[in-house]
Subunit: 363 residues, 2 copies
Amino acid sequence: MKIAPGDVADLARGAAFLGTGGGGDPYIGRLMLERALADGGSLQILDVDEIPDDALVIPTALMGAPSVLIEKLPGGDEVITSLRKLESFLGERAYATMPIEAGGINSTTPLVVGARLGLPVIDADGMGRAFPELQMETFHVYGVSGTPMVVSNEYGDSAIIEAHSNWMAEWIARGITIRMGGTAYIAVYPMRGRDVKRTAIRQTLTLALRIGRCLSQSRDAHREPFAALIKELADTPYGFGKVIFHGKVADLERRTTQGFAKGRAVLRGIEGEHRTLELIFQNEYLIARCNDQLMAIVPDLICVLDSETAEPITTEMLRYGQRVKVMGVSVPPIMRTPEALAVFGPRAFGLEEPFQPIEALHA
Amino acid sequence: MKIAPGDVADLARGAAFLGTGGGGDPYIGRLMLERALADGGSLQILDVDEIPDDALVIPTALMGAPSVLIEKLPGGDEVITSLRKLESFLGERAYATMPIEAGGINSTTPLVVGARLGLPVIDADGMGRAFPELQMETFHVYGVSGTPMVVSNEYGDSAIIEAHSNWMAEWIARGITIRMGGTAYIAVYPMRGRDVKRTAIRQTLTLALRIGRCLSQSRDAHREPFAALIKELADTPYGFGKVIFHGKVADLERRTTQGFAKGRAVLRGIEGEHRTLELIFQNEYLIARCNDQLMAIVPDLICVLDSETAEPITTEMLRYGQRVKVMGVSVPPIMRTPEALAVFGPRAFGLEEPFQPIEALHA
């Protein structure tokens, strides 16, 4: 896989789709990556199977509430501090970096690191979408330790965390992130190539680029984008996609609390849709309900898209009066096992409804 | 200076006096140290002048709200984890440890470390009393960095913090301590012998032992303890001591908030005292006022003592109806410079009254 400067906008847009409302404003990630490439950086993307089993891989990411990120823009190099500190602590240089999630700014962050340092980036991640917490990773579900990890900020303050569980790592790192002003830069889940092969969700950078390209090609050709998108997804591990609602944002509650952007949106149906849809989010959209009917639920993707252009709308960009279509998308089997659902299924977010696959809800 | 098992009770009591309401329950510190000595540990106490200039000194302490500590007792060895991790990070073994404050459990914590590891303990500290925050140190005032530092808990979770300022180190370490349940174990302000000589407040372990001995000897001899204590202090850098109030605890507000035990106590005068005294505290007693008259103010010591035995009463042990005498004590000149007052004078605690020496208030 190659990523050229001309691909960055598409990649960022596709990542925002996979971010299912979270992962941060993709435009910020796009600017950071375009600048890194304009500064002469080049990108080497590796397929999971190309990594040696013993190679050290250190994923890199931004941590925090997306609602803070839009007011506290990253320069782009801060996360390199975290990577280098973790390398020093481990006494070993990383062979490659990779994303911890597929979504918004955290799809492009490791690419910025890769372009700046000449470090290969692996075409895979540990969430297959965006999730709000660090233990919500297939890495964690299948036994990889998130620590030692490094949290740092733009002033060079940092903490190297070691924890007896990935839940505790999340808890402590979140506390530090809050005290660093709501966003921070992390190097986390250091692991060997063999663990990446065993636990990662593969080819999600490729997938983001395919989704983004599909959207911009539809737009350029003045084609209806939703049908094209559903067709594109059919050929991926995210096989089932469906527009489950068409409406206008009629109510919106949003608060940044305990380091997360939490809230609720209500959409009133338009153009033949007479129902009302309720969306609950914690950084990402978690559940969609029509009155008492379940329409889609985490970990399946719930994507809120501009009703004309299908541009993804992140939770912090939701505005009263926006006309949107809501898509539900199935996630790959590795994300729907009982072990996976125990970590990032509905119960992990305090939701009462059990998981039901989107394709079963809309059979 | 020698500390024998028979000295521990006196040392802990004297440390509680210097803790000026904070520093944690001295009885807990006493038990931890007595056990370490009973297990065969021996203590080597060094005077500041005995440390080589190049020797690495790593102070050790408990961090957190004393009100939490009485419900979450330390085993005694946890802080050794922090010391060892900081040694690993620095790539150098410590020549000695020392207290960061003179007060309650944090006077005895480094002694437990010393007894367990056979590590010398320096007879000095960086507060000359107890203070609630990490930057409130003469080490900080006179230019020593608090970081790299380690925060750990009883489960082996830890963080190595590096910060661009000691204020930020406090802010991040406090956040971690809160998330670790309100108390944690730290190794902090690693420094060379020459910096200890330049910045430490000397012989405060000796002082704690002298104060504790004075109190127990008065008690054993059925003598009035306050006069003896004032006489004992006259011969130290804490030269001026005076009983400024005699009363009963009539009102008490206390809350554990943002990792601190904060509150307010009102004492109603008894036995010829017709006024009412207000005490404000944040872990330690900060100010004593009679109506609008200033009676004593931080950093001078405000010690609340049992009115019969002169046993020090920490803020978390204050109870409605207790009969107490309140003593004000002057602190050494190194703690009253403009630089020092800027860091731990009244303004640092949000108090409006400027600092006034206790001996001037009661001339």
